[in-house]
Amino acid sequence: MTDNPYLPFPVRIQQIITETEDKNLKTFKLSFLNREDEERFVFMPGQFCEISVAGKGEIPIGLASSPTEKGFLLFTVNKTGVVTRYLHNMKEGDIIGVRGPLGNWYPWEKMGGKNVVVIGGGFAFTTLRSGIVYMLHPENRNRFKDITVVYGARSPGLLLYRQELAEWEKRDDIKMHITVDATDDPSWPYNVGFVPTVTEQKITTSKDSYALVCGPPIMIKFTQPVLEKVGFKPGQIIMSLEMRMKCGIGICGRCNIGDQYACKDGPVFSLAQLNELPQEY
């Protein structure tokens, strides 16, 4: 964060990676223009930034890179509105801005010594990627027990970070359950089925576990009862919310859910916290 919390750090687009076959998702690899800005930028997986495109505006986007990855930041952006559309047409080398890190993060302290179940759907896998890379880092891996991932998309071509998923599949310190809703590829080596169904098949215990759940509302709606069936309590289910945001620091007043600002008090909430709040998100 700069001294003025509204002022973005200038960054250069180092690389643009098209993630999905529909070309709607691109990952932007950004590097700081000033070394001292990079040193000030200290974050935890689960946090987000306001990406600033001069002349177009700012958008809140989750940090997809892990603090263990040095020298760059990753943001995976869905082409949806004014700023994201413009950003998708920008080139490597272009200058944009990053304001952050903003918001809270996944409860890494509490998850220490526990099993971590990561459940993601569609393009809501970005901060989960950050979390997985963070946990798998040699310095962190033994702080957590079993790591299990259920990640699904509508089709194989819509999965994010496919190369990394394949690498994680080969490791023995993380259990991967990749799935797609449907595919006509007979050589598809992974699961076929919706995320809640695969979760029901693969996640059979809630003992000493936390579940990080990010995905479209429909996926969350059907995954929640599955987790509750195997004994996950609302305090063990962790979610990350999206809201329209502007300031990102709990001042401009639009992203509240009850008395909580999604930008400052969130975006990460446990289901136990959300159950106490008005259902307005």
Binding site: S52, I95, E276
Partner: protein, 345 residues
């Protein structure tokens, strides 16, 4: 700190003298309404107003404010880099502030100036201000300040409070800032005990004149979801046309939007007042809108002021009882009735 006394007619001489050091704002009548404007040399200070239509909030949070600037000119080595706009914060006197509007700035302080984040522009402007309050000897019919932890002679947020004693004004200094200002203005005649007594009487009389009372005592203990799901919101929202007059005039409404504007390759990042009454306020890029319905937006406005703020800051309700929204709502939605409904649920 003490009580000084001056003749009413002297006030403008004092304020005019202070213009050498400060920018001085006073309520000025334009057509039917008063608003805070810089004090002109030939102008008479008019203390006959009930209250300004708009509180002094734009002097701290301008309706439209340049935050940053940038150039998109590729020939510039700083192209696309967002930079701070130069600003200055001259010392300002706001004279004639009603106690409710001063209290409102107090309520806003927790939002703009908190341990985690400080809004630099709001904080600097607030710090550069000295507020001379004018107690309300004649509260209006829609005022209910005494119900919400305020009052016609409430001192919170003010540096000096003026009591209208007919021929003269008693100036009570409340802060060091206020003390300094009285010295600079040459107000050095101490008020005797008789005048102090008169001031107390004026205050007691004014408090008794406030006829409107609303209950707030049970808001804190109520369950947020019980209030959220209460059956009365459809009725409250029925007549609302989502015009946003209430949020525009409210001294405790602070929400803003941030937009970029570019003219011939030179751009500004600007913030503008916004309103929870508008659907665009919460519309996601995906098309999803958590507050797409009018009733949801009305509920947000009242829940924010009378419940969310209460729970979040333990600072009372985010309403100072000024009565502006009551007087100016085109369809007569009355926050006092909503206080009743919520408190008595």
């Amino acid at each position: 700190m003490g009580d000084k006394i001056l003749k009413k007619a002297e006030l403008q001489d004092v304020l005019r003298a202070l213009k050498r050091t400060y920018e001085v704002f006073v309520p000025v009548k334009e057509n039917d309404f008063y608003s805070f404007k810089p004090l002109m040399d030939e102008e008479k200070v008019d203390l006959s107003f009930t209250n300004t239509r708009l509180s002094p909030k734009p002097l701290v949070l301008p309706q439209s404010e340049r935050m940053f600037e940038f150039t998109l000119d590729e020939k510039s080595e700083d192209a696309h880099i967002v930079k701070e706009s130069p600003k200055d914060y001259p010392p300002r006197i706001i004279a004639g502030v009603r106690p409710c509007d001063a209290k409102a700035l107090r309520l806003l302080q927790v939002n703009f100036d908190n341990p985690e984040f400080k809004d630099p522009w709001w904080v600097k402007r607030r710090e550069s201000m000295t507020l001379i309050g004018l107690g309300c000897s004649q509260p209006c019919s829609a005022c209910f300040c005494t119900s919400v932890g305020c009052g016609p002679f409430n001192e919170e947020g003010l540096d000096i409070l003026l009591f209208d004693l007919g021929e003269c004004l008693l100036a009570r200094t409340l802060t060091e800032k206020g003390e300094r200002l009285l010295q600079l203005g040459g107000m050095d005649t101490d008020a005797d005990s008789g005048l102090k007594k008169s001031a107390d009487e004026v205050k007691t009389k004014a408090e008794k004149k406030i006829s409107s009372h609303v209950p707030t005592d049970k808001l804190r203990e109520k369950n947020v979801n019980d209030l959220f799901d209460a059956p009365f919101w459809d009725d409250v929202a029925f007549a609302c046309i989502n015009c946003g007059t209430c949020t525009f005039l409210c001294p405790t409404c602070w929400c803003f939007d941030i937009q970029d504007e570019v003219i011939r390759g030179e751009g500004d990042r600007i913030r503008n007042w916004d309103s929870c009454m508008f659907p665009l306020f919460t519309l996601h890029a995906s098309g999803h809108n958590p507050r797409a319905q009018k009733v949801q937006r009305i509920r947000q406005r009242f829940m924010h002021k009378l419940k969310y703020y209460v729970d979040k800051y333990s600072n009372g309700v985010a309403c100072v009882g000024c009565g502006r929204c009551v007087k100016h709502c085109p369809v007569n939605i009355d926050i006092r009735e909503v206080f009743n409904l919520m408190n008595e649920l």
